[in-house]
């Protein structure tokens, strides 16, 4: 199998894009990535998306986006894995180019969540859970994460207020990212006073409902310099799964899908957790950031919240996370999120991030995209090629 590299990136700002539809957002990101890679054509397009059918009443978005991006005729297909859809699409692009079947592949993640009333969006997002045994009980996606957070607090003796460290860091970093949804810092006091959604999860634990699209261009590594002066190697892009329903896991506080995906990625890339300079974590809720750090091997079980409060997660800490705002600060357009994370990792490895969030000496950056409460996890390790 041949090595592959990312030679182009594109992203739209994450916003409530009332004036823009799903296809516009996707096309903007695809064209930006193609311009960045100086390509006019591609051989295949993989579209990560969760809810086009439910919220935009539009399926078949693979061919649709290819057509409107001026790529009519190429192989194009949608990939769906709930909030993990974008990285799942990236995985397909990587496999296609690695195999030699495809020379230039584009992966784009796109989501349009603000098309209908917010109730519809809440219900649609709950489709990531088990419809027959979770959603039917009145369990929103927020509530599922609240079940995890309550048990974490109980088992490890952590207080609700301690989780503020994740939100404070995410918002502090998002200020420097022009593509982020939020540019205002959040204090611990604001966190403690935020409105409760599903106790113990409040508004400031939760990533915002938003729209956006992000894309990358993948080519064989040996040809990368034809397209870019700053190619980034895809050292691994590995998928792990777990039960869809939270209640079917023996220990819900240990995200086996994360462990499986991260271990496969470390093995494929030949790295250890401590080699990772930047970790774009799937902090859809602050509890998910904590559980991901632990199951990825960066923190011992039950210690992530304490480490976060000691400053380990800031750009100057031991393992910086959410450096461009994370899902909390940049925003979480669900089926696009995984590629926002990858684009941000590429920016680090190209030394193109703002000084305020720059991390010294990053050789490997890791993006981890999670579908549902951990049923599908894709861990991508990117490696610096330029020196």
């Amino acid at each position: 199998m041949r090595d592959v590299a990312i030679v182009g990136i594109g992203q739209t700002p994450v916003r409530e894009h009332w004036d823009r539809g799903l296809r516009d957002l996707a096309v903007e990101a695809v064209l930006a990535a193609m311009d960045d890679a100086h390509v006019r054509r591609a051989d295949a397009l993989y579209v990560g998306n969760m809810l086009s059918g439910t919220l935009s009443f539009q399926e078949h978005v693979g061919a649709l986006i290819a057509e409107y991006a001026g790529l009519e005729g190429i192989e194009a297909v949608k990939v769906e894995a709930a909030c993990g859809s974008a990285a799942a699409a990236l995985r397909q692009a990587v496999l296609a180019v690695q195999s030699g079947q495809v020379e230039v592949a584009i992966a784009v993640g796109v989501e349009k969540l603000t098309e209908l009333a917010s109730k519809c969006t809440t219900n649609a997002l709950a489709m990531a859970a088990d419809a027959d045994y979770e959603a039917v009980m009145g369990l929103s996606f927020v509530a599922i994460n609240a079940l995890l957070m309550r048990r974490y607090m109980y088992e490890y003796g952590v207080s609700k207020e301690d989780f503020a460290a994740f939100t404070v860091n995410a918002h502090a970093n998002a200020r420097h990212n022009p593509f982020a949804m939020f540019h205002t810092p959040v204090t611990r006091e604001q966190y403690a006073a935020a409105k409760m959604i599903a106790d113990p999860i409040n508004l400031l634990d939760s990533s915002p409902v938003s729209d956006g699209a992000a894309a990358v261009v993948i080519v064989p590594a040996e040809r990368a310099r034809e397209f870019s002066d700053k190619p980034v190697r895809v050292a691994a892009c590995e998928v792990g799964t777990d039960t869809v329903a939270l209640d079917n896991r023996a220990n819900p506080l240990w995200l086996k899908g994360v462990e499986r995906s991260a271990r496969r990625a470390y093995r494929r890339a030949g790295v250890e957790p401590q080699d990772i300079g930047v970790f774009e974590v799937h902090d859809a809720f602050s509890i998910m950031a904590a559980l991901s750090l632990e199951a990825s091997g960066l923190a011992e079980p039950g210690t992530a919240v304490r480490l976060a409060n000691e400053g380990a997660i800031t750009p100057t800490g031991q393992f910086p996370i959410a450096t461009m705002g994370g899902l909390k600060g940049r925003g979480h357009p669900v089926g696009a999120t995984g590629l926002y994370q990858v684009v941000e990792c590429v920016l680090h490895l190209r030394d193109e991030v703002p000084d305020a969030v720059r991390v010294e000496g990053v050789q490997y950056a890791m993006a981890q995209n999670i579908g549902g409460s951990g049923a599908t996890v894709i861990t991508t390790l990117l490696e610096r090629l330029i020196t």
Partner: protein, 140 residues
């Protein structure tokens, strides 16, 4: 909520019926064609006793569509005595009184309804085991 789907799930919703693996004895809820423990395919129906304890819970203030009129309500993960965990609402209890480890038992209740002329959906919820000597003895 479509009618065939809810009719199909009646044994689960009304009777808390899952499966038991004939090879290794593991219990499953929901019912499964393949045992996750031993991968055996010889499973038989099993009706759970409905007795268990709260593993975790949340009090929902912002509800999904169709549940708005019930807020605040409690959804819990309940550890059944057969060693299986299920997700269900707690009922007949003040949200303030819910605690991890609390003994609970299954009851059949209304889960929701689809407007005035729509389907009324029934299924399992759990309530505290009050005055249950076994429950108190276990709860030390």
């Amino acid at each position: 909520m479509d009618i065939p789907r809810n009719w199909r799930l009646r044994d689960q919703r009304y009777r808390l019926q899952g499966t038991r693996c004939a090879s290794c004895g593991a219990h499953h809820f929901p019912p499964r064609p393949v045992c996750p423990r031993c991968r055996g395919r010889h499973v038989e129906p099993y009706r759970f006793t409905g007795r268990g304890r709260v593993y975790s819970y949340t009090v929902v203030y912002q509800a999904p569509e169709g549940f708005e009129q019930y807020v605040p309500y409690v959804v819990a993960l309940v550890d059944l005595e057969e060693g299986v965990r299920v997700t269900a609402q707690l009922t007949d209890v003040d949200p303030e009184e819910v605690a991890i480890g609390m003994p609970v038992e299954m009851v059949l209740r209304k889960l929701g309804e689809e407007g005035e002329r729509g389907l009324i959906l029934y299924g399992y919820k759990f309530r505290p085991r009050i005055g249950d000597p076994k429950g108190e003895a276990e709860s030390d």
